[in-house]
Amino acid sequence: MTPVLELSDVALRYRGSTHNVVEGVSLAVEAGHSLALVGESGAGKTTLLRLLLGLARPTAGQVRFDGTGLSGRNREQMRRFRRSVQCVFQDPYSSLDPRRRVGATVAEPLLSLGIDRRATAGPKVAAALERVGLPADAAGRYPHEFSGGQRQRIAIARATVCSPRVLLADEPVSALDVTTRVKVVDLLAELKQEQGLTLVMVSHDLSVVASLCERTAVLERGRVVEHGDTAQVLGRPAHPYTRHLIDSVPRLPA
């Protein structure tokens, strides 16, 4: 089966810089196998996500979508791409437009992708909000009326309203309190189950990764040092850096 998204031997160097922020990365995102990108700050996790989203172009190697090279100039491909691949960011306070009602924000992908017109988007928006567990009147309210966890649900509703195949999420729960975090993790697990969504998740929180993703890639200074089934990578880490990461997680006393 062709992977939905694929990075092959990708490198990225920012203009004016002398070294690559990511180098020699080859990863595939296959439908039904959620992938986690873990590592510490500066490891290149977010850069990889930007490459997968087509927001940055690699200086070497290739990003492929459904088997063909991703190109920002190919408008027909980009339209299919945006419909299939959506994203959720870390901070639900800065990722929602404070001056737009939630309904308009959630409807945005439907309108910009030409799937619906404003007049017909209503039912899909309502369904998306209901799926993420928000009250029916949420569409008419503004982001500031919601808590952090609810805002992240709004961001997830916006990302899933056009029924994408892949959801790219950059630290989707790290800004949330622990009780809220568990609920959003549950929501993402539910969407995986029911909508057949495949997650690509960037996280520094190994426990979140372990509960959501079938596969894990560990990044250190722009390179993948270990990659495979999550149970394998976290349960029997082969690379010392992975072991170090796992050992550093603070544990509750038994």
Binding site: E40, S41, G148, D177, V178, T179, T180, R181, V182, V185, H204, D205, L206, S207, V208, A210, S211, T230, A231, Q232, L234, G235, R236, H244, L245, I246, D247, S248, V249, P250, R251, L252, P253, A254
Partner: protein, 266 residues
Amino acid sequence: MTLLDVRGLTVRTGDGRTLVDDVSFTVAGGERLGLIGESGSGKSLTTLAVLGLLPDGMTATGSVELAGTQVIGAPEKRLTTVRGRDAAAVFQEPLTALDPLMRVGRQIAGPLGRRTGLKGKDLRRAVAHALAQVRLPDPERIARAFPHEISGGQRQRVALAMALACEPRLLVADEPTTALDVSVQAEMLELIDTLVREREMAVLFVSHDLAVVAKVTDRALVLKDGRVVEEGAVHTIVGAPREEYTKALVASARRLESALDLRSAR
């Protein structure tokens, strides 16, 4: 001996909302107390009130006695003698705690010089020593660096060195490792633990992360919506929580943690 005695502390906003509601606790000399709570629980406001640093427009009532000084209602001049000597703080975000336009060494030299009276070469040596104590490699180089030139973990170590420079009797640490990577967090917790033990310093440690609090403190308070819901030994709180809220908190933390123990079971 009681070092910090907080009684009936209540913090209100200008428009009359109560954010911290009748909170009482004590910290004895050398004791480590944790404040656990989620966002909006009033844990940070409580620590700010202890230091007399509440933002404008907020008023505190009740009593906060720090090493014999009543903090509430005390004039600023009085508080400057208390801060640093009796209590010093490390906050969550080291970038906002450090002056971006001042070299790191000078920022530590400030409080250090005031306390010890050292000047010139001696003061420089003391600064290097303070940086070495928080295990910063090459302290001379770090002292010459600006905050933006060093990493987040190094900045937090600098902030800790600054707080420890005056050898306070109480270290207030408000989410000191939340902004750090896990491996850096582990080193930082270890460092706080050792340094505080060596100096027999008391700690008021604030965090939303139960596991982190359990690493550094012996006793803890659980706060929710500005009120204390449970208090006791950390191990009891984590092992046998009594209140519904604490139970939910511990259950959430355990659930996420248990995912890590699945190993190859799936």
